[in-house]
């Protein structure tokens, strides 16, 4: 066997194997959790402020054991996710429609440009109290905050994608016999769609963050509310428990969207969309 034998198996070094990398990743997490626990047990980290993994893991287990009532963690997760989905869907629809209209109508785009830039420059989270005053402490104010966060991401993605669409593609389909409607559905919207899919994870993440923050500021249900309540009782274990649940949900959401993104961009790396 020589070095040039292409059929010869070449061993993959252990540092490049998937299971080994996963193991290292888990090890890093385990290290910090254990360090936190040990430092807590030794009294280096004050339990009052920093709680301990063993405490908040037990708390999370207790929450999930409490059943499905209106004050349960299941209901909190349902409320937060519902707000996220609504904020995401409404924000995306608005962003696509207005982004498309502005890209196609130059005067419209120019007329609204300063207003939109100004609105976009406001850190949106400071609008949360405004929305709570305007829409109350229920679902609507959380959705509204999510919408303003998602809208701008999708709006700019759609706007740039449609405005900068390759003119050669448009000219080509027109010579091939495309009518206005065909240009829209065959060229402009697919170009916008791929930009939206690319921004999907960012915008969904923002919708989720918007829902949690608005709940934290004023609400009667949801994961943000759960953290705010724990904080009010100086219950750091409850706060960390809530944060961990939110982090895990966000992670699951991101994995799901990564899969969706892959499924819709097969024409880029591989096949059919």
């Amino acid at each position: 066997m020589t070095a040039l034998d292409l059929s010869a198996p070449v061993p993959v070094p252990i540092t490049k194997r998937g299971w080994f990398i996963r193991l290292v990743q888990l090890g890093v997490i385990a290290f910090f959790v254990v360090a936190w626990e040990v430092l807590g047990q030794l009294g280096v980290l004050d339990k009052f402020y920093y709680s301990r993994p063993s405490l908040f893991i037990a708390r999370i287990a207790q929450w999930f054991g409490e059943g499905l009532g209106p004050t349960s963690i299941w209901n909190d997760m349902r409320v937060t996710l519902l707000e996220t989905v609504l904020g995401f869907v409404i924000g995306t629809l608005l962003g696509v429609t207005i982004g498309y209209a502005f890209a196609r109508n130059q005067l419209l785009g120019q007329a609204f440009d300063p207003l939109l830039s100004m609105f976009n420059a406001i850190p949106r989270l400071v609008l949360a109290p405004v929305f709570i005053l305007a829409f109350g402490i229920d679902l609507a104010s959380k959705v509204a905050l999510g919408v303003t966060l998602v809208f701008f991401i999708v709006f700019f993605a759609t706007f740039t994608a449609v405005r900068d669409v390759d003119q050669t593609l448009v000219d080509n389909v027109r010579v091939l016999g495309a009518r206005r409607r065909d240009v829209t559905f065959e060229v402009l919207l697919p170009a916008a769609f791929s930009a939206i899919v690319a921004s999907l994870r960012t915008s969904a993440g923002f919708a989720f963050a918007g829902a949690v923050v608005a709940e934290y500021i004023g609400s009667n249900a949801g994961l943000g509310r759960r953290i705010a309540t724990a904080e009010a009782f100086f219950d750091s274990t409850g706060v960390f428990g809530g944060i961990v649940v939110i982090a895990v949900l966000a992670l699951i959401l991101d994995f799901a969207l990564q899969w969706v993104e892959g499924a819709f961009s097969r024409w880029k790396p591989r096949r059919e969309h």
Partner: protein
């Protein structure tokens, strides 16, 4: 024989926003008889692509009249095949879907016809691939199939092979001549490559540096069928090349000087 493409007194002024307007082509007079393969050569910036866009109706002429297959050009013409210099396939559609587009726009999908044309340009094994999975030459083949599937009487080609490497380009040129062969189609072919122009055409038109006007026309009486790789060594080829190059060289120099002054 009636002219398939004719331009009379055609000029085009571009007025880019916040820039000085400029004259791209000036009072062009050109008649191309039906069934001829005519190439337009000229230095970069001489308005040869503008000429083609005017014939296809992609842009309107500032003055003069463009006639295509007996009717005046006013708006985009869908009775031509147009091969763009840049990639024009929809990246989110497979070869099969791209080639089927003109048929779908006309409201009659014909799967057999699509498959037949994809096979004719040698892409049968790649029918369900996306453009990004093909080489540059293969994408040009797909574009040819896409344009020819509706059997247009006229083929307008805007430096279609300029982005390809030399070997692939020669293959594609021969392929084009085979497809064109006895089809009777009129071809207006834009290129900056004089060799390519002579090897492919029945006639070449040399344009001046911008604003583009027609400087000279040379008939190319070389026998067909031709092999573009071999015909370059024929004495008649060399003779035409030398005469046309004498014209073109001055224009290339003028164009180059002007680009230096502008920068």
């Amino acid at each position: 024989m009636a002219a398939a493409i004719s331009l009379h007194g055609v000029s085009k002024v571009y007025r880019p926003p916040r820039k000085r307007p400029y004259l791209a082509i000036e009072r062009i007079e050109l008649d191309i008889p039906s069934g001829r393969f005519v190439s337009v050569v000229g230095p970069s910036g001489c308005g040869k692509s503008t000429l083609l866009s005017l014939v296809a109706g992609l842009i309107p002429a500032t003055t003069g009249e463009v006639t295509l297959n007996g009717t005046r050009v006013a708006g985009i013409r869908t009775d031509v095949g147009f091969i763009f210099q840049r990639d024009a396939l929809l990246p989110w559609r497979t070869v099969r879907e791209n080639v089927a587009l003109p048929l779908r726009f006309r409201g009659h999908g014909d799967a057999d016809r699509v498959r037949e044309w994809i096979a004719r340009v040698g892409l049968a094994p790649f029918i369900d691939n996306y453009p990004h999975e093909l080489s540059g030459g293969m994408r040009k083949r797909a574009q040819l199939a896409q344009s020819l599937v509706v059997d247009p009487a006229t083929l307008l080609m805007d430096e279609p092979f300029s982005a390809l490497d030399v070997q692939t380009r020669n293959l594609m040129e021969n392929e084009l001549l085979n497809l064109w062969g006895a089809s009777g189609k009129t071809v207006l072919f834009i290129t900056h490559d004089l060799e390519e122009a002579i090897a492919l055409s029945d006639e070449i038109v040399v344009m001046t540096a911008g604003p583009g006007t027609i400087k000279a026309r040379y008939p190319v009486d070389l026998p067909r069928p031709r092999n573009v790789t071999e015909i370059r060594f024929a004495p008649e080829f060399v003779a035409i090349y030398e005469r046309a190059w004498a014209d073109l060289r001055d224009e290339v120099e003028r164009s180059y000087k002007r680009s230096l002054e502008a920068s």
